[in-house]
């Protein structure tokens, strides 16, 4: 089944084109990793998929579960089953983490799991804190994932869940993502899909992916085996990897 399709998608931020002619196809049960240098438009892409109004669609459309969601408000997309974990979420003074978890659990039907998941992500002591207010880097990542676990989306997008995270946290985070995307289950049983942005590829040690893509200068430059792409990026850099990919499309 189709989960996500972006067709000829073009995105503008503050009147400036940041993404052009993007085509993506993700099926049920698939997890995809998105690589790309800083400023290539990775965050803009998932922001437009979740419907952040700052990222306007000037071309193309986005289909989710076969339905055109291009003009749908964010909360409706979330209710349809899209979830997002931000790299630097804003602090919301006075709104407690526990409040946010209740909001998420209401959508995900996971009210009875709040305690269990909070323990799993080692966030029990943070429940009464204002959302993201003074959270450390690791706490922000764990808080985002905890909210997503409770939101229980069919399709989850994660923005650099492995950046700036120490070894202890990467294991907690990696395992939570693996569980969320059902990568611990046999392929045929997987219902959850994901799009994971990674800079370092660390997350691939915990979560295997079905394929990888490179976003470069607002376009998709390469699609293929995520491990080969990562390998090639580390040897030849992004540009080198894309050149290789264009020459030998079947190698990746």
């Amino acid at each position: 089944m189709d989960i996500l399709r972006a067709i000829n998608l073009g995105i503008k931020v503050n009147g400036k084109k940041v993404l052009e002619n993007i085509n993506i196809y993700i099926q049920e049960g698939q997890t995809v990793v998105l690589f790309g240098p800083n400023g290539s438009g990775k965050s803009s892409l998932i922001s437009s998929i979740i419907g952040n109004p700052r990222y306007s669609v000037y071309d193309g459309r986005i289909l989710f579960k076969g339905r055109n969601i291009t003009d749908m408000p964010t909360d409706e997309r979330v209710k349809m089953g899209i979830g997002i974990g931000f790299q630097t979420p804003p602090k919301v003074s006075g709104v407690k983490l526990s409040d946010a978890l209740k909001f998420c659990a209401r959508i995900g039907g996971t009210e009875d799991k709040i305690d269990e998941y909070a323990k799993l992500l080692n966030m029990k002591s943070m429940m009464d804190r204002s959302l993201n207010d003074g959270f450390s880097g690791g706490e922000i990542k764990r808080s985002e994932l905890l909210q997503l676990l409770l939101l229980n989306p069919d399709f989850v997008m994660l923005d650099e869940p492995d950046s700036g995270v120490d070894l202890e946290n990467i294991a907690i985070i990696g395992n939570a993502i693996k569980k969320m995307l059902q990568r611990d289950k046999p392929q045929a049983e997987r219902k959850k899909s994901g799009l994971i942005i990674t800079h370092t590829g660390h997350i691939l040690k915990y979560v295997d992916a079905d394929y990888g893509m490179i976003l470069h200068r607002g376009r998709i430059g390469c699609i293929g085996n995520p491990y080969s792409i990562l390998d090639s990026i580390s040897k030849d850099g992004y540009e080198g990897c894309i050149k290789k990919c264009l020459k030998f499309p079947n190698l990746m």
Binding site: I50, N52, P53, R54, P73, T74, D75, V78, K79, G83, I84, F86, P89, P90, V92, S93, G94, V95, K96, D99, A100, F103, C104, R106, I107, S130, Q147, L151
Partner: protein
């Protein structure tokens, strides 16, 4: 505890529900004592605990010679035209006193109610927490539905003796042409604590007040918090001042103001006049519409080298980014806005009893809809 007297007055339904909206409770088992003044007349003055006294101020003046030592001793009698206006024969008000060592957790309720259209209510209150005692007071001040014009001028003098504590929570609910000018002052002795909370969220013409706490005792403390919403055509000039005179005394002034078309002047003043005095002032304002004004005036004054005074002030609108973030957790735009406004008003007041927090939350939720839409 012996029951001294029981309120047996019949009140109109409309009045009762209005009183409830400002924290009033008609189940007397939930209050240690109750006081209700309608216009100039004392309707209820009763107490269930013998170590809490509650009576009308005129009765108290007759009963206690020593009250002269308290009347007009915290507030200057000649301060302005409003103090003079109240300084007349037919003034009324409450006298509340906790006996030495009495720790009264169950709150005392004191309500001042404006019933007659155009009436100018004159009030003089005295509250005394004797040494080592503790008092929780919830004071609702409201006007009757349809009583769209009138005036409320109230003098309140609080005395927190050694090792005593007063928590005073005042919720106001007026109508659009009512003018409200409280004048209050507090004197706090050694190790005394005065906590004052103020909530105002309904339309009003003018509220102007600037309560002062004089911390004369060593290690005495005052905390003032206010949550104020100004709707169109309201002018609210409200703030608090703390004078730190006692060695090691400390103060905190917190305010959350929201303008939905009205004008708010949010004042705060801490004056450090003793060694090791500490104070922090925090004013935050939220602008919810294009018209309306919030003017924050935080002031700090040091008259000693080793004082520690600080302030933060910030005024802004709701950040789109925060709304979007909560929408990404499944909240609609309105739900997200409501959650952020509610969070904004959620001041974490140290030492505030749980039931008072509930009363404040209740007052907030009553007006929430009007604020968002």
């Amino acid at each position: 505890m012996s029951e001294i007297s029981k309120p047996d007055v019949e009140l109109e339904q409309e009045m009762k529900s209005k009183i409830r909206s400002v924290g009033g409770e008609f189940d007397s088992s939930k209050r240690s004592a109750s006081f209700l003044q309608v216009d100039q007349e004392v309707k209820i003055a009763s107490t269930r605990f013998k170590d809490v006294e509650v009576m009308g101020i005129r009765q108290a003046i007759e009963k206690y010679d020593w009250l002269d030592d308290y009347l007009w001793k915290a507030v200057d009698r000649k301060k302005d035209e409003y103090t003079k206006f109240v300084d007349v024969e037919d003034v009324n008000g409450y006298f509340i006193r906790a006996m030495p060592g009495a720790k009264v957790e169950v709150p005392v309720e004191a309500c001042l109610y404006l019933r007659k259209l155009g009436w100018k209510q004159k009030v003089h209150n005295i509250v005394i927490a004797e040494e080592g005692s503790e008092l929780n007071i919830i004071s609702g001040c409201a006007s009757h539905p349809g009583v769209t014009s009138g005036m409320h001028v109230g003098i309140s003098e609080f005395y927190v003796k050694k090792n005593a504590k007063i928590t005073f929570t005042m919720i106001h609910s007026w109508e659009k042409d009512i003018e409200v000018r409280p004048r209050s002052a507090t004197i706090v002795e050694d190790n005394g604590v005065f906590i004052s909370n103020y909530v105002l969220m309904n339309p009003v013409k003018v509220v102007q007040m600037y309560p002062v706490a004089n911390l004369i005792g060593e290690n005495s403390t005052a905390i003032f918090s206010s949550i104020i919403v100004a709707l169109s055509d309201s002018l609210i000039d409200a703030g608090s001042k703390v004078v730190l005179r006692g060695e090691g005394s400390s103060a905190e002034i917190l305010s959350r103001t929201i303008s939905k078309g009205g004008t708010i002047i949010a004042r705060g003043h801490i004056s450090g006049e003793s060694p090791d005095a500490r104070g922090h002032l925090e004013c935050r304002g939220l602008m919810l519409s294009d018209d309306g004004v919030i003017h924050a005036i935080p002031e700090l004054q040091a008259k000693f080298p080793n004082v520690d005074l600080s302030h933060e002030a910030a005024i802004g609108k709701i950040a789109e980014e925060e709304i979007f973030y909560l929408m990404s957790r499944g909240l609609t735009r309105d739900e997200a806005t409501a959650a952020i406004i509610r969070g904004f008003m959620d001041i974490d007041i140290k030492g505030l009893p749980e039931f008072l927090k509930r009363e404040i939350d209740k007052a907030i939720s009553l007006v929430e809809k009007e604020i968002i839409t």
